[in-house]
Amino acid sequence: MRVSRWLADRWVMIVALLVLGYLALPILVVAGLSFNRPSSRLSYDFNEFTLDNWRQPCATSDMCDAVVRSVQIGFIATVVATVLGTLMAFALVRHRFRGRSGVNVLIFLPMATPELVMGTSLLALFVSAGVPLGFWTIVIAHVMFCVSFVVVTVKARLAGMDRRLEEAAMDLYASEWQTFRRITLPLVLPGIVAAALLAFSLSFDDFIITNFNAGTTVTFPMYVWGAAQRGIPPQVNVIGTAMFAIALLLVGLSSLRGRRARRADLLAGPAPAHPARRSS
């Protein structure tokens, strides 16, 4: 009787933990396989423990070239998309203008369109315009699908900002540029950084749109796709595990910083209500 009572109280949590296990399982497998010496090129089973894959992550040089190329594309696409998207977010939150709802639709649509359709339509455009496919067509495509996510992320941060801080700066004779540089930008920066990280991870991991617009250029996901037919080198799992560890580290660091900032707020005493700051 007691057991069933305990179960009735906690079944939601138990189910939740099981589902989290389902979500975590493949990551554990990837980490495990990064220490595997496969029995054959086409085998996906765990065979023998080895550290070789970590010692020589670039044993198959094609793969490392692909990773470097993905980082390059991700970097360029992130910079461009973050600049374009941040400007749009400022326009949408800070200004009243005609055609605003049209712009909102233009930003929303790419997020609701299946990637497949975006990839094939861009390919149709490039082919009919005679643009050779390769590095730069991938960059163009990645900027396109990252912009909307940047706008949404930066917009959320800007909308939650306390405008009185800027008004105070202007009252104290700061010029418009000084106000932007010293007040607005530092306050929005966390949103911009978050948007840039999101854009980079979307770009780095994109397969479907890239696949249609890459020509013969090989990014890391494209490499994995091709290798899945020819046999996967175990180093792919090293890259997968390393990516996971780096992302986890970044999340850990940012939550640590957030906690320290909150503590500093507390030490500064009961400040007058800053709804914007607390909600961020």
Binding site: V12, A16, V19, L20, L23, A24, L25, P26, I27, V29, V30, L33, Y44, D45, V83, L84, L87, M88, F90, R94, H95, F97, V103, L106, L109, P110, P114, V117, M118, T120, S121, L122, L123, A124, L125, I140, A141, V143, M144, V147, S148, L158, A159, G160, M161, R163, S201, D205, F207, I208, F212, P221, V224, W225, G240, T241, M243, F244, L248, P275
Partner: protein, 304 residues
């Protein structure tokens, strides 16, 4: 809070025009800010859709090397539908089954994190998005190892006779649906969590004070209040899942191919652009129809 409510914070409604905005330079400013991004989206998102629409009406007898003639060949649409209707049905079938599974798994997860996790909330949320920290393809390939014929899972299932001695998990519809559910589950859980997090626990207490059973309280209080998140999550799950072809390719066989596989090969292997374009458009139209039909029934159009 009442004082704050009167202070324009720029959220939602546009802020009152600042004095400077009356000068001409400032009236143009928003357009200058929007121009580069909007132009990028128009040229590389809007125009391509038109180009795809045009390509779907090209003369199907042309080829990439000889060039295509625009013949308004509306016949392309019935042709591809007739040739590939099984893959179409399969796409929506698999995505639909995966969606039901994801709801069964995702709702308790979102609810537990939002209402029961206490100080573990942030950690559990990180666990939900953690799969996205590593490559989509690499983690899908990991399922090949988990479901492998020589793997522990198949072994156990064969031992308890849930699976025939020569039964397989890999290369079956089951594997594809499992992969779809896994890959897109976080997109369903996050918006659902956001809705459930705002749920006031006192409403549930009130319901039980008024003699509602837990099931009734769920049906009459929790479920309706989580509707916006449920609708948003369902769409964020269903749209990419029905257009996906990675899971079908890596975890299935040609018997499990979805419409995405057909479109992929039309554009990249068979180089039949009119056919690929017509299929892409049909996919988009079908998804839009499902989405709007669903939104209408769910009655929460404000999520858009």
């Amino acid at each position: 809070m009442t004082v704050l409510a009167q202070v324009p914070t720029g959220s939602g409604q546009p802020p009152p025009t600042p004095p400077a905005a009356r000068s001409g330079r400032h009236r143009l400013l928003p357009y200058l800010l929007l121009l580069p991004g909007a132009a990028w989206l128009l040229i590389f998102f809007g125009v391509p859709l038109l180009q795809l629409a045009a390509a779907s009406l090209y003369d199907p007898s042309g080829s990439l090397s000889t060039g295509y003639a625009m013949t308004w060949a509306f016949g392309n649409y019935p042709d591809v539908l007739q040739a590939y209707w099984p893959q179409f049905l399969r796409s929506f079938g698999y995505a639909g089954v995966a969606l039901v599974l994801a709801l069964l798994l995702g709702y308790p997860l979102a609810y537990a994190i939002a209402q029961k996790a206490g100080r573990w909330k942030n950690l559990l949320l990180v666990c939900v998005v953690a799969p996205m920290f590593t490559s989509f393809l690499v983690r899908t390939l990991a399922w090949k190892t988990i479901l492998s014929d020589n793997g522990a899972l198949v072994g156990v299932l064969r031992d308890v006779h849930l699976l025939a001695p020569d039964g397989r998990l890999l290369a079956t519809p089951f594997a594809v649906v499992l992969g779809l559910t896994y890959n897109f589950l976080p997109f369903l859980v996050l918006p659902l969590y956001a809705s459930l997090e705002r749920l006031d626990h006192r409403l549930l207490e009130a319901a039980s004070d008024l003699y509602a059973s837990p099931v009734q309280a769920f049906r009459r209080v929790t479920l309706p209040l989580s509707m916006p998140g449920l609708v948003a999550g369902t769409l964020l799950f269903f749209i990419p899942a029905s257009g996906d072809y990675i899971n079908a390719e890596l975890l299935g066989t040609p018997n499990e191919y979805m419409i995405g596989n057909v479109i992929d090969s039309a554009f990249l292997v068979r180089l039949d652009y009119p056919q690929g374009a017509a299929l892409s458009f049909l996919l988009m139209a079908a998804i839009l129809a499902v989405v709007f039909g669903y939104l209408r029934r769910a009655g929460t159009e404000e999520v858009l």
